[in-house]
Amino acid sequence: MKLSKVFWGIVAPLAAIATSLLLVSGILLLKGNPPYETLKTMIDYGFTPRNIVAELNIASSYYIAGVAAAIGFKMLLFNIGIDGQYRMAVFFAAVVGGAVTLPPILHVTLIIIVGAVVGGLWGSIAGYLKVKRGISEVISNIMLNVIAGGLVAFLLQPGRLGEQADGSNNLNTPILATSGWMPTIKFLDGEIHSFLIVSVFIGIGYWVLLNKSVFGFNLRSTGMSFRAARAGGVNAPRMIFVTMALSGAIAGLTGMGTLLSETHSYSISFPSGYALTGLALALLGRNHPVGIAFAAFFWAFLDRSAGVLDLNGVPREIITIMQGTIVLSIVVAYELIKRINQKQEQRLVGNAGIEQISVPKAESEKNA
């Protein structure tokens, strides 16, 4: 039982990737590009030392977004608000961090805490609306994402909280004092953000919280059956609220690696779309901390190696198509597996039922 779960957990993602590879190959053939060679150039390019480092850095952000989504999923919450939570968090962390100067470790800690708190607060709005007003977190989060984007764009204007470097179009927050920087680690041909270590700890923390704590137990049980958990004395609405806030707090750490080790200020060029990525990774990694890690690296690899496609006359958007297909096929695969398992279980239960009924019947016949 356990083994088959692990088996399907590995086979399903691979099948999804294979499906999307087939589709992409088909599209490439239609346009007259050789699929095998194209994919090979992509893989070669993606595994050059320079790119591996860049992929690890991107993957570190993706991983945190994935964990944020996974915590929500465990509670049957669809946190599509990761985008807004991340944007608010990284912006305010950059603003607060840029406004003060503190001893090195303290400064970094403050920035990280501000990020987590702001992300958590923004996430808890959706949690509050869900618990108190019964509003689907999907809808409220979509709206909150747009509002977050607008608010940050508004506050980033020069004269408010942002500034504009001379001769540049890019708006950004004040540069952090060096005490608020996190060092980078030399690796292969580039520099890895040391925040990668933090994201590993987030993964470990996620696993411990989920599997070794009362909170995690309550969370999983509420996710499986709202009513049963309630009967068991779990305050389910409160759990929903806390989970949404927690998911937001983790989402708030998504951009920290970039902020602390690379740009040292928030600017409008900070990437968006972490919500979709996070959700996709949580689905692909089956909410498991290790699974999400593999998925995050794979996603970062796809993103990065897409760069070589344009040079070869293949539009890089084929990678977006591929990612979309992977998400869809993985979900379809899980759904089909679930259906098959259910049928098998039903059959088992059915057989067991017949045996149970037939045994006393046989005995009664014997007695008669």
Binding site: R133, G134, S136, M143, G150, I318, T320, V327, L328
Partner: protein, 412 residues
């Protein structure tokens, strides 16, 4: 029975007159504000025309969302379907003219809707996942196809070649008469003429045709057997199936229509609102469409009202940003009038809330010289959140919205 018909009668008698009163009050206030602030654009024919052009895409996305949600399926893929519509409309419009563009967009959208249906109805995956994946796929595919088809034809990866717009018409005598009246600058009457003028001057045929989908949707959903069954599937699929309604088939049809409408909205966006496909042209309008469904309490007329409101703010922002500021004053006056009416009704709680919020808006009007564009951009989203927070008890979504449903399998 007799009480029921009486009440119904009363409702039908009062509601149009009530609407007329509200329209009159808004008009008078707008007219006064125009004089005070000098924001001439808020009641001009041009503003109405622009509002129409911004409203229709939102309306189409909203109606698309409505059809899907009434059948019990949430359609987060509206944005992706709109993107598909802009692309298909632009490409086939460029090749064979606007009519073919619209038809191809409709077919393409319906197919994507059916695809969404296959995933969530037949396979039964999470409705939000499917919708988001469709958005992602549409975005990637549109860009990919643009690089193949647009680039060699005078466009590039994010821009199509110029597309011919569908024809426009003005109602012969009425249009010029209203324009004259508007120019005379008589209080209220000129304003009314200005606003009405926008509806009859240089209106695109596409606008009229797509606008007709509002009454058609209302009629289909509330006056036909098919519509009753469709809404039944959204309220209680189990009961519907036990009475012989084919839940899967109904939802497939609803989603095909949903996709078709959203895609038509996209086609309108690139052929009427603009005359070219631009990447990112939909700019989250699919999501605003989703918001109008909530805003409109899952009713076509409500969706229409929401789209008008959001389309109006969008149009003002693009045309003349001082108008947005003037609108604040309209809100203040209307809010105070509403508060006084509630005071008259001795509803002190509502009076307090509306008076206080009008005063806050009033302070903003006096202190802030210009409303930042960013705020106008997310106004629809904020308004929806506020509606959800303040009116959640009065909203009535379909009972089984977004709840997965499995049809009973034959022979088991």
């Amino acid at each position: 029975m007799s009480i029921l018909t009486k009440e119904k009668l009363k409702k039908t008698v009062t509601s149009p007159s009530r609407i007329a009163i509200i329209v009159a009050v808004v008009l008078i206030v707008a007219s006064i504000v125009r004089r005070i602030t000098g924001a001439d654009d808020i009641t001009s024919a041009g503003a109405t025309g622009a509002t129409l052009r911004f409203t229709i895409p939102l309306l189409m996305a909203g109606l698309g969302g409505l059809w899907a949600e009434r059948s019990g399926v949430i359609n987060i893929g509206l944005e992706g379907m709109m993107i598909a519509g802009t692309w298909l409309g632009a490409w086939f419009g460029f090749l064979h003219g606007p009519l073919v563009g619209f038809i191809c967009a409709a077919i393409g959208g319906a197919l994507i809707g059916l695809f969404h249906g296959f995933l969530v109805v037949k396979i039964g995956i999470d409705q939000a996942v499917s919708g988001l994946a469709i958005n992602l796929l549409a975005l990637g595919t549109a860009r990919y196809l643009s690089s193949i088809y647009f680039a060699p034809n005078g466009g590039d990866i994010s821009l199509s070649p110029q597309v011919k717009q569908p024809g426009v018409f003005s109602v012969p005598i009425l249009s010029s008469f209203l324009a004259d009246l508007n120019a005379k600058n008589i209080i209220v009457i000129s304003d009314a003429a200005g606003i009405l003028g926008g509806f009859v001057t240089e209106v695109s045929y596409a606008t009229v045709l797509l606008f007709l989908l509002v009454p058609i949707s209302t009629w289909l959903l509330w006056r036909t057997r098919f519509g009753l069954r469709l809404r039944f599937c959204g309220e209680n699929p189990v009961a519907a199936e036990s009475l012989g309604v084919k839940v899967f088939r109904t939802r497939y049809i609803a989603l095909a229509i949903s996709g078709m409408f959203a895609s038509l909205g996209g086609a309108y966006l690139c052929m009427v609102s603009a005359s070219v496909y631009r990447e990112g042209q939909t700019a989250g309008r699919g999501f605003i469409g989703l918001a109008t469904v909530i805003f409109g309490n899952w009713r076509p007329t409500g969706v229409l009202a929401g789209s008008f409101l959001f389309g109006f703010t969008d149009a003002l922002r693009v045309r003349q940003s001082t108008s947005v500021h003037a609108i604040l004053l309209v809100i203040v006056i209307l809010g105070l009038l509403f508060a006084m009416w509630k005071l008259f009704q001795r509803n002190y709680k509502v009076f307090g809330i509306s008076a206080l919020s009008s005063l806050i808006v009033g302070v903003i009007f006096l202190k802030v010289p210009k409303i930042p564009d960013e705020f106008v951009t997310f106004f629809p989203n904020l308004a929806t959140i506020l509606v959800l927070v303040l009116l959640a008890q009065k909203l009535r979504p379909p009972a089984m919205l977004a709840v997965p449903y499995r049809e009973r399998e034959e022979g088991h």
